[in-house]
């Protein structure tokens, strides 16, 4: 892409000496409370690594667009008239107003509401009102919308980065692409489509959510009410997340760190590897008895596989810094300010283009919508309040340290393979220590940040 322009935003250097704030066993509270650190993160992390921007199923046809953000930057993720994926800055090159104020839609061009400048969905300036009042040549690319210079898709997941030195997306994902592939490949055609979302937010720093994302230690405490609810009719008490009960480290699940801040909590080993096993541990959901009976009647032996598609996949796949695949959700977290974060739990639906499911896909999705509503309603709300209460606790200025040392110093507690992939027990905080190590590396690196202007 031409028209790259380097930005000098990182020239001032780090606001802090991070060697004094990030240690192997602990980090300083200011990582979560200092607006200057947050401002730097918006460039050095949310500008410099591949950031998840949206899913291709949100913009299936040419000219489709969806509003998104990269950190705080307002973007329009478009599939332009030629079918090219672009992440346009939603910022008029004239006076800075947004040129698109819709959440999604289809448009060949965007017109600023302020002075009527119009841009094609490639980002190119298409026209300004009464151009004879300007001495400029409007073919100058500086008048085109800025856009993210590198946008790539991995199996429908669209990412962007401003960092010209970032590795290709596939290399950035590295090992975490494995679980992502497995998550996709359990669906017909190896894909899902996004549907509507449980949209939540909390008054806390974005990293509190990332720190929690592979945390197997909090589950039976933070989600005590959900576990009780899921099992109130179950004599064995083995529904939902019951495999966390007693000591989760005795269960076969594990947490794995892949590098680049990505990690994976794999709960699948807790569940027998056979059709129907996932469905058997589902807690109660609206319509489950009706649809199970109906699917068994229609599909016979194949019903177990269909019911598993309506069941929550027991994984937490965390792609640094803002994408989480858990259950059947695509969860996206978006920082708003140092102590405010949006977290949007997009549902996913099964598609059956080849007819594998013999006409039952609508029934499966009717069930799958209800299974997906459970955790955001009855689990995530409790986590988010706990995050908010951390942010309150952090106001105690003299009590500086936040610990993440569970497992540290215990021999043979985790294994490291030849590729540096670390595997440990599910309550271990090794994943947190590793993503904080990566955070510190990024905050002290010098990324080559640029924007592009279409020609």
């Amino acid at each position: 892409m031409t028209g790259l322009r380097s930005i000098d935003g990182t020239a001032s250097g780090p606001a802090w000496d991070y060697d004094k704030l990030v240690f192997e066993d602990r980090v300083h509270r200011v990582l979560y409370t200092d607006p200057r650190i947050f401002d730097e993160e918006m460039t050095r992390i949310f500008g410099a690594v591949w950031v998840y921007l949206g899913h291709e199923s949100q913009i299936p046809a040419p000219n489709d667009f969806v509003a998104t953000r990269m950190g705080r930057r307002p973007l329009i993720l478009v599939r332009d008239s030629e079918g090219v994926l672009r992440a346009l800055y939603n910022r008029c090159t004239h006076r800075g107003s947004t040129v698109c104020r819709e959440a999604r839609g289809s448009a060949k061009s965007f017109q600023c509401g302020y002075h009527g400048w119009t841009f094609l969905n490639t980002g190119k300036l298409n026209g300004v009102p009464w151009p004879d009042g300007y001495a400029d040549n409007f073919d100058d690319e500086k008048f085109n919308l800025a856009q993210v210079p590198r946008v790539e898709s991995y199996r429908g997941f669209v990412f962007g980065t401003l960092n010209l030195d970032a590795p290709p997306l596939i290399d950035y994902l590295g090992g975490v692409a494995g679980p992502l592939d497995e998550w996709l490949d359990r669906h017909p055609g190896g894909k899902v489509v996004l549907c509507e979302a449980n949209r939540l937010k909390f008054k806390g720093n974005w990293k509190l959510l990332y720190d929690n994302s592979a945390d197997g230690y909090h589950v039976v405490f933070s989600h005590r009410s959900l576990l009780a609810m899921e099992n109130r009719f179950d004599e064995d008490g083995d529904k939902g997340m019951a495999f966390y009960k007693s000591n989760p480290d005795n269960a076969p699940m594990y947490v794995r760190y892949f590098g680049n801040g990505h990690h994976f909590k794999d709960k699948r080993p807790n569940v027998e590897d056979r059709p129907g096993a996932l469905w058997e541990i589902e807690g109660p959901h609206p319509g489950m008895e009706h649809f199970e009976a109906s699917l068994r009647q229609r599909l016979g032996d194949k019903a177990d596989r269909a019911l598993d598609l309506a069941s929550s996949e027991p994984v937490n796949i965390n792609v640094f810094p803002n994408l989480h695949i858990l259950g059947n959700h695509i969860q996206v977290s978006t920082p708003v300010s140092v102590d405010e974060t949006d977290t949007t739990w997009y549902g996913t639906a099964v598609v059956d283009e080849d007819g594998d499911l013999e006409g039952t896909v609508d029934a499966i999705n009717a069930l799958r919508m209800r299974t997906q509503e459970s955790f955001p309603n009855f689990g995530e709300v409790d986590d988010l309040v706990n995050f908010e209460q951390i942010q309150v606790g952090f106001q105690a200025e003299e009590d500086e340290w936040v610990y993440m040392h569970r497992g540290l110093g215990i021999p043979d507690r985790f294994q490291v393979d030849d590729d540096g992939v670390i595997t440990g027990p599910p309550t271990d905080e090794v994943f947190m220590r590793e993503h904080m190590r990566e955070w510190k590396r990024l905050m002290t690196a010098e990324p080559r940040i640029a924007i592009a202007r279409a020609v």
Binding site: R199, A228, H285, E289, H290, G347, V381
Partner: protein, 193 residues
């Protein structure tokens, strides 16, 4: 054979049920269907005030008692959407609604510890007739002010109640809660709306 107990199993939320639900909640607020009978309007208004009072006074079990055995509590995340194809902010059948109340009453739902205090204003109450003479649909506006953990905030929107006339009282078949900010990120949506 007795009908299955909807508190412990969910057979009634079927394909046909979903189709009827979407149909029932489409295009129901028409001038031809508006109910002008003042006694009926008054009865609906008193019922909605009672419902708000039960919620504001934390009488969640009594609030559950206002619902028909086979019921739906529905907070859509889209406008005019179909719950078969979309996630809702909440879509509870009888069992899940009882689950919701059970969870809130465990004392271990941190999103409600401390619990919220609410004051609900219900107004603009408009009942509409349906093809079934025993069923009315009621549109009302709500403004719920919530105080929790030192902060006061509000929820606003309109509700659609589908009510069955039990001669001496009403039963809620469906309560649909339409937030004005249904498509935005919501902070701690853990109270019953």
């Amino acid at each position: 054979m007795d009908a299955p107990d909807p508190s412990t199993s969910s057979y009634y939320v079927s394909d046909d049920f979903y189709a009827a639900l979407v149909e029932d909640f489409s295009g129901w607020q028409t001038p031809e269907r508006a109910i002008t009978d003042s006694a009926l309007r008054d009865s609906c208004a008193r019922f909605l005030a009672e419902e708000a009072r039960l919620l504001d006074t934390d009488r969640l079990d009594d609030w559950l008692g206002l619902f028909a055995r086979e019921c739906i509590y529905w907070v859509p995340g889209t406008r005019d959407g179909d719950p078969r194809r979309e996630i809702a902010i909440a879509f509870d059948d009888r069992r899940r609604l009882e689950d919701r109340i059970f969870r809130l009453q465990t004392g271990e739902a941190w999103s409600q510890r401390p619990g919220s205090r609410t004051t609900r204003m219900v107004s603009n109450i408009e009942p509409f007739s349906t093809p079934d003479p025993e069923i009315v649909m009621v549109r009302s506006n709500f403004l719920t002010v919530e105080f929790r953990a030192g902060e006061t905030r509000s929820w606003a929107g309109w509700a659609g109640h589908r009510l069955r006339d039990m001669t001496t009282h009403w039963k809620i078949l469906v309560k649909q809660v339409n937030l004005i900010d249904y498509d935005q990120n919501l902070r701690n949506p853990s109270i019953v709306l």
